[in-house]
């Protein structure tokens, strides 16, 4: 664990096809067979995308697997089922359901793209825009510049280094690295189904990355993966015990979180089941508040006392400080460094997985796109940039956002929502209402909380991150870079469409801009 491994000698985690857990998948197109169909099986014979399946000994084909259909693009090929159907029995349309999915930050095609990546481990073969949202600013307006073909290098994905270091302080503690520039954000036992959080831990182990307990205690199911589980110490101190600090490779002090900066946390009484109450050492059915801020921290000196306490309990632990993005986030970051933190984790205002007041998510603290370069520059000016790991989160949705965040100055990112989308969260936002998430993700309900299997969660996450890794490798190769570390702070490789002349802007993919009904 303590050694920096040569990633090129490691096999990447295995990708396995992991289909949707729902009977009817959602695709960009809908394809229907009408009553003229005579079940001749011609479509199944033709389709290479497994949209039409008619196993041997079956009298008729299965219902079309619509999410695999590439739509009108198929017209250019010799297997376009609509034209080849001898009975003219098929109809192809854009799926009107997409009008009712997604939002400005996660448009429907980004959701479908992530479903596809989590299923296959590769880029979606359907023409989906899964890299850009429709928000009209921040990452959605940034593009990587056209690479110079002369500098591109031809090396295999396996030979590209996507590791990042988490301890740059040379303080004698383990020089820990993770194999991808991402790890999982805190999701607590109580707010999220056990199978989801354990599945994330299993995926973290396979990816040689990390996941985080959130502020919900440390279920024993985490123990087999303890080298990959960060223990979070937040203001409520739920489930924080000496042994959970001794287990962990990294400990995270959560001062604030982007989705509800300055507000603390709140677990509704309905979610405090017997198991949750036991884990958090509280009362069944009673709402739990994590106050804001730490009652023991009034100054940076108090903060140092926290860090020292943690280091004393576990002599190998690395220390991460999670803060939100106020206007003085750069000063907060430098304070964290001088208090002895190994990682400063800044959490922007547009992210978050659990329930939070809408007014906080929209209005309080700055978006992460502004905070990353501000902190990166300040740490550089102070001469400590190479002595602390800067991790960004809060609104980082896809592989390209990760690459952009790194180019802006982060070392890596923490991912939350995308993990949930990989296990088919549709971002309906009802995490807190009634029994919790109807899709069995953010729920501890006796029925809903058991809708997912750990195996499914683990593999879907591995698949998604492997798909992202391919994107990072493509970017690095095109700029002649062999390591993701070389991308850090390379904002010169990016443009922002609003900062380009009209003619120059035309050279880049335009920003999606369609009106959505919120």
């Amino acid at each position: 664990m303590n050694q920096i491994k040569d990633q090129s000698k490691n096999k990447l985690p295995e990708i396995k096809q992991t289909p949707s857990r729902f009977r009817n998948t959602i695709g960009k197109y809908i394809l229907k067979r009408n009553s003229k169909c005579v079940s001749c099986g011609k479509c199944a014979e033709l389709c290479p995308h497994e949209v039409h399946i008619m196993p041997e000994n079956h009298a008729s084909p299965f219902r079309p697997v619509e999410h695999n259909c590439i739509g009108p693009d198929c017209k250019k090929t010799d297997h376009f089922c609509i034209e080849h159907c001898p009975e003219d029995a098929m109809v192809l349309k854009e799926n009107p359901l997409l009008d009712t999915m997604g939002d400005y930050r996660w448009p429907p095609e980004m959701l479908l793209g992530h479903f596809a990546m989590a299923e296959t481990g590769g880029a979606p073969h359907v023409d989906l825009e899964y890299n850009l949202g429709n928000s009209g600013g921040g990452f959605d307006m940034m593009r990587f510049i056209k690479p110079d073909p002369k500098v591109a290098i031809d090396i295999r994905d396996e030979d590209i280094d996507t590791r990042i270091e988490l301890n740059k302080t040379c303080d004698g503690r383990p020089e820990r690295t993770i194999d991808i520039p991402c790890y999982g954000g805190g999701m607590s036992y109580g707010s999220t189904a056990l199978s989801i959080i354990v599945g994330r831990a299993r995926a973290a182990k396979r990816l040689n990355s990390l996941t985080c307990t959130g502020e919900g205690g440390y279920p024993p199911e985490f123990l087999p993966y303890k080298e990959h589980v960060i223990t979070q110490v937040a203001t409520g101190l739920f489930g924080v015990r000496e042994e959970t600090i001794q287990h962990c490779p990294i400990m995270e002090f959560k001062y604030a979180q982007g989705a509800k900066p300055g507000l603390g946390g709140h677990l509704l009484g309905e979610k405090v089941t017997e198991a949750v109450a036991k884990m958090r050492e509280t009362v069944v059915g009673s709402s739990l508040f994590s106050p804001f801020p730490f009652h023991s921290v009034y100054s940076v000196e108090d903060h140092k006392k926290h860090v020292d306490w943690m280091k004393e309990i576990n002599h190998n632990v690395l220390c991460s400080i999670k803060v939100s993005t106020p206007t003085d986030v750069d000063m907060v970051a430098i304070g964290a460094y001088y208090a002895g933190a190994h990682i400063i984790h800044i959490d922007g205002s547009y992210g978050g997985t659990g329930a939070a007041p809408d007014i906080a998510k929209k209005n309080i603290a700055m978006p992460i796109e502004y905070a990353i370069p501000k902190v990166h520059r300040f740490l550089e000016e102070e001469g400590v940039r190479n002595k602390i790991t800067l991790i960004a989160s809060g609104g980082i949705r896809n592989g390209l956002d990760v690459a952009k965040a790194i180019a802006l100055g982060a070392d890596g990112c923490v991912i939350g929502t995308a993990d949930l989308v990989a296990v088919e969260c549709v971002r309906c936002g009802n995490c807190e209402s009634g029994r919790g998430c109807a899709r069995g993700i953010a729920s501890t309900d006796p029925e809903l909380g058991y809708m997912t299997e750990e195996d499914y969660v683990e593999q879907r996450l591995v698949n998604m991150y492997m798909a992202w890794r391919k994107q990072w490798c493509d970017i690095l190769r095109s700029y002649g870079l062999k390591s993701i570390k070389e991308l850090r702070g390379r904002s010169d490789l990016m443009v922002h469409l609003d900062y380009l002349d009209e003619e120059e802007r035309k050279k880049y993919q335009p920003a999606p801009s369609f009106k959505m009904v919120l």
């Binding site: 009977r23 928000s135 009209g136 300055g262 992210g351 007041p357 906080a360 978006p367 922002h496 009904v517």
Partner: protein
């Protein structure tokens, strides 16, 4: 322990089915009929519960438009007979500023008294115009109290409406040498105001006045529209008068403690007469934020006269009046506030802002821009289920029968909305580490503006911005 100000809320379910966003569609011809796995029985939100009732009655089913978007019925039906659409009526309600989302959230808050909460992060555009082009700051450590989420009750949201003396002076014997007038204070920085369109039925106005009285605020109401049986609301009313008619309302002006007179040049000459009618009367002047007026200068001039509060009016979307290129109220407020600061009169008088205040966050953002408080109008109608359809302006019937609203019910809905707004204000104030709404006034240091953040974070990377920033 002293009593803490609190707005008590009680659920007030809608009288009419709200215009929901989504509708589930069933293609019943493909239904298996007797499927034991029917997804309707499994709906987590029970929205199909009354499914069969409407079929027998041939009525529109109630579950339409209440879908919570979990997609499970769509994805689990064994025959795949479900789909979903956005309710076309939902697309049509409101306008570009008072969006369907704003109306729906307002209805929710008026119904439950709770604040809108959702999971999975923010969903909107990166930045918008007007108030959506600024963010409020937070503090990692500082909190007004150390009591976490319970500490909010210690945050003071009072504002004053009366003039403050520039300084105190004392006689040789230590007694005061200046006249200190009674302080007029309200417990939250939100006042009500009669909307400039809608149904002015007695029920509607009484609902607003009752809610104002319940929560301890005041309502601006045209003096001519104050019926005799509203006199009992006395100090909850701020009559709106004009130079030519204020003398017609001696009885009303003797009952109230604040009056607003419409601005016109030379209006300051009437202040003496007004105060002669009621010596403790707090005087507000209503000033339209019109492009043909130098409103900042007018405010400075008025602030030096014997008046208390400047009440500035933008249009319902917060825009400057009579302009082809209207400015937004936040920028106009900044100008007025700073002009008063320069004139050294800002500490003595108060500013109230009207127009475009449709969400709780707009209250705090207006205060950051320089207001002491805000006055709201359309939100009061929306709280009572108004859909802003404008049918009443064409003498057509109101789809939610506002004309027959029971004041008890209407005031309950408005009180709920104010309870939810105040809670949200407290969330923002707490995050900023502020213990008093008054401390927020003009505190731009507690905010972050789009244009500044772009300049600070992006300009060093991307150079000069070529697409102009339209935040107005």
């Amino acid at each position: 322990m002293p009593q803490k100000y609190n707005i008590s809320t009680n659920a007030a379910p809608p009288r009419f089915y709200p215009v929901g966003k989504y509708s589930t569609i069933e293609f019943r011809e493909n239904c298996a009929g007797s499927c034991k796995e029917c997804v309707k029985n499994k709906c987590v939100y029970d929205i199909f519960k009354d499914n069969y009732l409407h079929m027998s009655k041939m009525e529109e089913p109630e579950y339409l438009y209440t879908c919570n978007s979990c997609f499970r019925c769509i994805q689990e039906c064994t025959k795949g007979i479900f789909s979903r659409v956005v309710n076309p009526e939902y697309r049509e309600i409101g306008d570009a500023y008072w969006t369907p989302d704003v109306l729906n959230r307002t209805w929710y808050q008026a119904h439950t008294g709770g604040i809108p909460v959702s999971g999975a992060g923010y969903r909107g555009p990166f930045v918008g115009k007007g108030f959506d082009s600024m963010w409020t700051d937070m503090s990692e450590i500082v909190r007004p109290t150390r009591d976490g989420i319970h500490g909010r009750e210690y945050i003071n949201t009072c504002i004053e409406l009366s003039r403050r003396p520039e300084r105190l002076a004392f006689k040789e014997d230590g007694s005061l040498d200046v006249e200190v007038k009674p302080i007029l204070e309200i417990p939250l920085p939100i006042l009500f105001q009669q909307p400039d369109f809608g149904i002015y039925s007695k029920g509607v106005l009484l609902s607003m006045l009752t809610a104002a009285q319940t929560i301890g605020t005041k309502m601006f109401l045209k003096a001519a529209d104050v019926y005799e049986d509203m006199m009992c609301f006395g100090k909850s009313i701020i009559p709106l008068v004009k130079k030519e008619n204020f003398e017609n309302y001696p009885k009303l002006l003797s009952l109230v403690d604040m009056v607003e007179i419409e601005y016109e040049p030379g209006i300051e000459k009437t202040f003496g007469t007004l105060k002669a009618m009621n010596k403790d009367l707090v005087v507000s002047v209503g000033i339209p934020l019109s492009a043909d007026l130098d409103y900042a200068k007018i405010c400075v001039d008025l602030s030096k006269a014997d008046m208390d509060t400047l009440h500035v009016y933008a249009d319902s979307q917060g825009r400057e009046l009579n302009s082809d290129t209207p400015r937004f109220i936040k920028d106009m407020l900044r100008d007025i506030h700073l002009a008063l600061v320069d004139a050294a009169t800002r500490q003595q008088i108060n500013i109230l802002a009207s127009g475009g205040i449709c969400m709780a966050e707009h209250v705090n953002k207006s205060i950051i821009c320089g207001a002491d408080g805000v006055a709201i109008d359309l939100s009061l109608l929306v709280a009572m289920e108004c859909r802003l359809c404008g049918r009443c302006m064409n003498d057509l019937s109101c789809p939610v029968e506002l004309e027959s609203i029971d004041p008890e019910y209407g005031s309950n809905r408005i009180t709920n909305l104010m309870g939810a707004w105040r809670n949200q204000m407290l969330e923002m104030l707490g995050a900023m580490g502020l213990r008093e709404a008054r401390r927020l006034r003009g505190e731009v240091g507690r905010s972050m503006w789009f244009e500044d953040l772009e300049k600070e974070s992006f300009a060093p990377i991307f150079g000069e911005r070529k697409v102009s920033i339209d935040v107005g």
